[in-house]
Symmetry: C2
Subunit: 421 residues, 2 copies
């Protein structure tokens, strides 16, 4: 008998019918003899609708009230799933984040979990009940106010509960049935991975895979909670995310997959006097606006005039704001120009096998060259290569790299409608 934590996303809970389907799956797991704790997101578009209402009554709503408002969504979905479970003859009990002992930092809107003390959940499990815990929420220690965990918070709730309850596995259900070697909508023979390490999953999440939220994988890695990515529409075992890359024998280390990302924009500052502090000025300006920078390139300065260019990427949604901040200081800093390009895309190759296969970078670049694709920026980690190219060339690049590194399977991949968040 295992203790299993299951997390269901909003699209799996969009209607009463889907809620009943999810409940049936939960009850089936319980009937296999396991203890089951379930974390549900808010139904379908509930959160967006509440955000919209809030914006109508106050364009700058106070954080504490925003959290009180948004957490209602998860209460609703969890109570409904509990009801549906009871209709299938099993016993269920729902808990708010606070009741489940999810203690967070004080900050509203983006609190971090400090501690999970799931005494009431444990007690209910011991009575043979299926426990439903509202995701995305907790209570802060000082003020005893309701807090939310920010984007993807329900995944983090699930992993944190799994860690606190010493669960055997944390299953993340969405409309995607696993982690693939590439996006099956782009690469038709993308293969579902049976297993990958936390490090590989972190790299994939960081370069655009939307399967799992980065923060939840970090949490799972820190506490050694195995995660399993599964679809709420099939019985496929999905993909296991567990173990450290260090534990994979060299001869078994492989390449994990190809990821694409078209959510970034490129900013280039032209004609910078190449002196100490020039780059720092740029990145401080952007950081002060709370904009994250991803890839960075600084050219070697031309000998004749000692001028250089700096190029970096940031989220496309923040691009115009970043440009505005930089244009403000352009004259004072003496830069020739600030250029903006939002037609870029990033293609990445991830895998622990990269460490033991020195030719990977060369093959990567040759493959793109053979397809006439120009590389604008390169960034690498121990187990990842990412390059910036034209957005329009992303699909071709992904297919070419996927084929060059022989990542594909023999079958056509199943393609799902949504993205599963």
């Amino acid at each position: 008998m295992a203790l299993i934590v299951q997390k269901y996303g909003g699209s799996s809970l969009e209607t009463a019918e889907r809620i009943r389907a999810v409940a049936e799956r939960i009850v089936a797991t319980k009937k296999q003899g396991h203890d089951v704790v379930v974390v549900c997101s808010a139904m379908g578009d509930t959160t967006d609708e509440l955000l919209d209402l809030a914006a109508q009554v106050n364009p700058v709503p106070p954080g504490r009230e925003m959290d009180m408002l948004l957490t209602a969504g998860e209460r609703i979905s969890n109570a409904l799933v509990a009801m549906a479970i009871e209709s299938f003859g099993a016993k269920a009990q729902s808990f708010t984040g606070s009741q489940a002992g999810v203690i967070t930092t004080e900050k509203h809107g983006n609190a971090r979990i400090v501690e999970v003390t799931p005494g009431r959940v444990r007690e209910a499990l011991d009575k043979g009940r299926i426990c439903l815990v509202a995701g995305f929420q907790g209570v802060n220690r000082e003020s005893k106010d309701v807090t939310t965990l920010g984007r993807g918070g329900s995944d983090t709730t699930a992993v944190a509960l799994a860690a606190a309850l010493k669960a055997d596995v944390c299953e993340i259900y969405s409309d995607v049935d696993g982690v693939y070697t590439a996006d099956p909508r782009i690469v038709s023979n993308a293969k579902k991975l049976e297993k990958l390490s936390f490090e590989e999953m972190l790299e994939l999440a960081a370069v655009g895979s939307k399967i799992l939220v980065l923060r939840s994988v970090e949490y799972a890695r820190a506490f050694g909670v195995p995660m399993r990515v599964r679809s709420s529409y099939s019985n496929d075992p999905g993909t296991l995310v567990a173990g450290s890359m260090e534990d994979i024998p060299v001869e078994e280390a492989t390449l994990t997959g190809v990821a694409t990302d078209n959510s970034e924009a490129k900013i280039t500052i032209v004609g910078i006097q190449d002196s100490p502090g020039a780059a720092a000025k740029i990145f401080r300006t952007v950081a002060d606006a709370e904009i994250n920078i991803d890839m960075v390139l600084q050219n070697v300065s031309a000998i004749e005039n000692n001028l250089t260019d700096i190029t970096f990427t940031c989220p496309r949604s923040e691009g115009p704001r970043a440009v505005e901040m930089l244009k403000k200081i352009q004259e004072a800093e003496g830069w020739a120009n600030v250029l903006y390009d939002d037609q870029v895309g990033k293609v990445s190759l991830v895998g622990a096998g990269m460490k033991s296969h020195p030719g990977v970078t060369a093959t990567f670049c040759e493959t793109l060259r053979d397809h006439g694709i120009n590389i604008e920026l390169i960034s690498t980690s121990e187990i990842r290569i990412s390059v910036l190219i034209r957005e329009s060339e992303l699909p071709e690049a992904a297919r070419a790299l996927h084929a060059a590194f022989e990542l594909g399977g023999d079958e056509e991949a199943k393609v799902y409608a949504g993205t599963g968040r």
Copy 2:
């Protein structure tokens, strides 16, 4: 400076625009120098929508989960009103029933308030904040689970908070601007009352006035909390409900008003052997089905065969079920028949003045006779006369009685669209 508790119903909070209007009114009260505690119902049809969803996932939803579900509605409206208040420059803080210290009995779906310990609310008031408390909900002492207070529970929350905080008044806002001598949609010159006693309001609520929920008036009377019925659309002072009938000098005691009710049905059991226990059997059967009985009539039995009839009224929605229960035992009990009539209506006259004016019952019956209206059942209390007539004759009866007792004003009454619950 006074401490004022204000309660706003769902129709006053139907849209973002109305929420902003309510917030403006709350801030205006605060700016007059008063401490303000606000209790909000769920927005518009939220509760009905949640009930509908619950019915879809489980036709017999467990009470605990139902309460977890339904209380989300009040969290949403209270958080939104708090946000709107902040947008007008005042400080607001919202509380769940549990956070506000509303402790209830264990029973889900229809819990009763045991105690209110509003320490956190008091503290926030002392910091100059406007406090929003989610109505209709509390937390039970033993299980620490969320409970709901049943129909009209938000009114009860408001009165209970007012009592615990020793508030000067509890204002109940809806789309009706006071208590009238009759329903203005039926009697065009119905007059708004400036003031009435708790007993008179209780009698009116019991015989069909939907202005205030019976339970909240009972609570207010027990704790001596003055209530004021006001409209959220006007600045009219509304109607004050306060004081005991006993304290009204005889010469000032008047007739309060006429109320009509078409929510009941009439059941007659024909041919009952007139022996001890015959009536008890009927009422035990109905009581076991948790159906409330209102008016009762037992005929004098005919001498020749010692047979009698018993007639009673109950909620029309429960009528068919009551008949079904009685039909089941009809043969065993030897009754001739069980008759059902849902075309009945009840018209009532209420007022402390009745005690000192002995001719009221006579005038009441003569008035109906003069209009050719037949009385089917009569029931009375010290300050009330109610009769059962044909439903179709209700408007005429109300107008005739209103005129006969000279309850009307000189002006046409304002007529509102909704009923204000």
